[in-house]
Symmetry: C4
Subunit: 253 residues, 4 copies
Amino acid sequence: MSSLDSLIQDLVIANRILAREDVVDAYGHVSVRHPDNRHRFLIARSLAPDLVEPGDIVELDLDGQPVRDDGQKLYLERFIHAAIFAKRPDVMAVVHAHAEDTLPFTIAAATKLRPVIHAGSFIGAEVPVWDIADRFGDTNLLVTNLEQARDLATCLGPNSVALMRGHGFASAARSLIEVVRLSVYLPRNARALMRAKQLGGEIKYLSEGEIAARNRGYSPYSVETWRTWEYWANKAGCSHLLTRPDEPPAGTS
Amino acid sequence: MSSLDSLIQDLVIANRILAREDVVDAYGHVSVRHPDNRHRFLIARSLAPDLVEPGDIVELDLDGQPVRDDGQKLYLERFIHAAIFAKRPDVMAVVHAHAEDTLPFTIAAATKLRPVIHAGSFIGAEVPVWDIADRFGDTNLLVTNLEQARDLATCLGPNSVALMRGHGFASAARSLIEVVRLSVYLPRNARALMRAKQLGGEIKYLSEGEIAARNRGYSPYSVETWRTWEYWANKAGCSHLLTRPDEPPAGTS
Amino acid sequence: MSSLDSLIQDLVIANRILAREDVVDAYGHVSVRHPDNRHRFLIARSLAPDLVEPGDIVELDLDGQPVRDDGQKLYLERFIHAAIFAKRPDVMAVVHAHAEDTLPFTIAAATKLRPVIHAGSFIGAEVPVWDIADRFGDTNLLVTNLEQARDLATCLGPNSVALMRGHGFASAARSLIEVVRLSVYLPRNARALMRAKQLGGEIKYLSEGEIAARNRGYSPYSVETWRTWEYWANKAGCSHLLTRPDEPPAGTS
Amino acid sequence: MSSLDSLIQDLVIANRILAREDVVDAYGHVSVRHPDNRHRFLIARSLAPDLVEPGDIVELDLDGQPVRDDGQKLYLERFIHAAIFAKRPDVMAVVHAHAEDTLPFTIAAATKLRPVIHAGSFIGAEVPVWDIADRFGDTNLLVTNLEQARDLATCLGPNSVALMRGHGFASAARSLIEVVRLSVYLPRNARALMRAKQLGGEIKYLSEGEIAARNRGYSPYSVETWRTWEYWANKAGCSHLLTRPDEPPAGTS
């Protein structure tokens, strides 16, 4: 299989996992930068992620326009992906979603979402909250053009996640597996923090040093990362699409 | 297929989706105005929504009486639908349900349910709470006659949702797809607000302008609306009943 | 089918429904008074309710002893059922379970569990909390003999539900369908009340008059009651065991 | 079947149950001491617990090293098991997991996790919280060597569970069935306590005497314990792997 075909299968798996793990419903999407052309990215046509098949993947440029316009309906908010890929050369994959337990942190201004559990470390020490109303006034809250998307990407800055007020989040990472993992553990970290707040008293957040240590140790194709990808693909009923990456060298597990 | 047969299939899908998404259990129902006679509506006979088939759909008039009385048992609370269709010519579809996470807002008088997430905008800026005891004293809380139902419809007024104290809600919209969508996102919006309240501090609600902007942009058969209808029908195991509406014109997606 | 065989099938359905609706796990049990002998009741042998088949039903007397001792292992806490059937001639069916969302109300002494939603009305205006330690000191909290069970039954008094501190609840009703319904809606009512408390402000409970009105209107074999029994049996995968009761007279639906 | 083969099947069942009951996801693991050699234990190779088959079980020594090195990838945190088996001769089985509802108690320092429900008694009167940062500073929070694992085992002391700050827990028991049961009820007890705290007022914890009484009465192969093991194995889809232990003597049920 070509590396492009393999990546497309991975993108299908990512769609299905995000649906199965309740990160997306009919809305929300995941994209990956084109392996051969940094100025393009792959994403599904307008379709619920749970129903995405390899033939539903389209190729867009960094203005969010289709490379081959064959009349497919596209996600209204595809500009989010375009703007983040344009502004962040280090980013290889992007998710936008409305995962329910991230929402309270977008509307309760007093509590900042920060990592409290080790699996949440990849959201990073700083999770900015973007409010579309700050620059664009009363909108339908959707990011439907490049100008809005660039403003969101600016708010994201060098971070991994930006919350979007009353809407959801955008997350960005160095690989498809990493952005999926980040997006699955983001609401779990949010729940742990909400419940800890309810218990009251002082909260122990992950330290900056811990976040950095976890980040340094992360490898998208380690045995540990693969383990959860394989598990989630099985749960999502698409393990037949798994393509095993090259084995990592012994001793790194 | 005739447009009536097609609408009946849509109504079956609506029943199944509301069951699968935990908006209804054995109780709760959804109706649609008759396409050829504004003074009638379609609704299932007395049956759990998850078990409804096309042959279970009956036709009632705006007094809640069957057009053809073939001895079918009917929902006790069908008057809710009758009264709303009578009072609101703009309304084409109605849901009554007990979705669990709407209930706290019907009994905790101090907190008003308002839209905090974009998908919750369709509940509208104002969600009145109707208490059957205010006019009817000690009842079994069920809306079992036209007088009670008309009082509820009056409380609903021009809004999209009325909460019913200790009981649930009634929602009304311009199409079957819209009323289902509204009814699914209503408890999600409620959960987001409950959890934001627990986090504390100031809550950012959707502004009136945002609610209006979303409402203006809504089209019941847009690509985006269809996407979630198709997704939910698949989850509910009734995608075989889907009848694709006419394609919307290009450029509206 | 004989009425005994039919009742045994209903008891199997009750077991499966309680498992499917998360009222019981491997623990918890449901019983019904013998239709031909008021001094006996039917209950499963020691087995997880989800796995119960008609052949697993045994007949016990009001001392909790098997009528035919064929060496079957019995539930340790069967005495709960025996004592309630002995003390309450009006009761035809009993459930004991540990449904998770009832537990907080057994250990947080300050908040009384009371009906706040219409479907919760059958728990009654008064839900006493029984603490085994009050009379029996440090035990394993299980009700393992008649003396303890009679103390619990005394605490239950004329009510429908007694909470059991750090343990769960016992519920009693006039029919199998009613005790199942009561036991399923008990934790839902508990959740609605917990969440309303979190929202804060004054809580509107069902009035005594509303509880009485609902109780007066209840009929275990009405169309509405059957609807939920049929629905739950379908969800629990045992609709093939349903035996339709005599049709209620027209006009009562 | 040999007792070793039978134990391996039990270990597979334990893996599947912990996955099905949401105690583990792709991460987390369960081990059992080798029946013929107290200085070894059995655990899966690096694999999501839900996917574990008998052929995936490996044998490690109390330094966490494989007895037969056939190049299998191993769990990074296997040292947790090694150190607990080494320090605690009474312990026959160990679980390490990240069950979500235990996490708030690891980061909200003010609230101690203690048994409030009877099924939670086995967590013991004292549940210490281990913070890897106390001795090891900024790490990735994973227990990746014997020194860290021994520190955790020291913190565990004679108790059944140690919480791990921002990470999860380690639990230890006298049998595989017991450690699974303990690990399933640990988050349930945590939820009951969290919700009771939200209700407010005084909380009734299990007394020391009650914890002791339950512990004295516990038998890993009693009818009651088997009942839940059988139930969970059925739910997890692996009842075909069940090997019934010797029947307990009559009268102990």
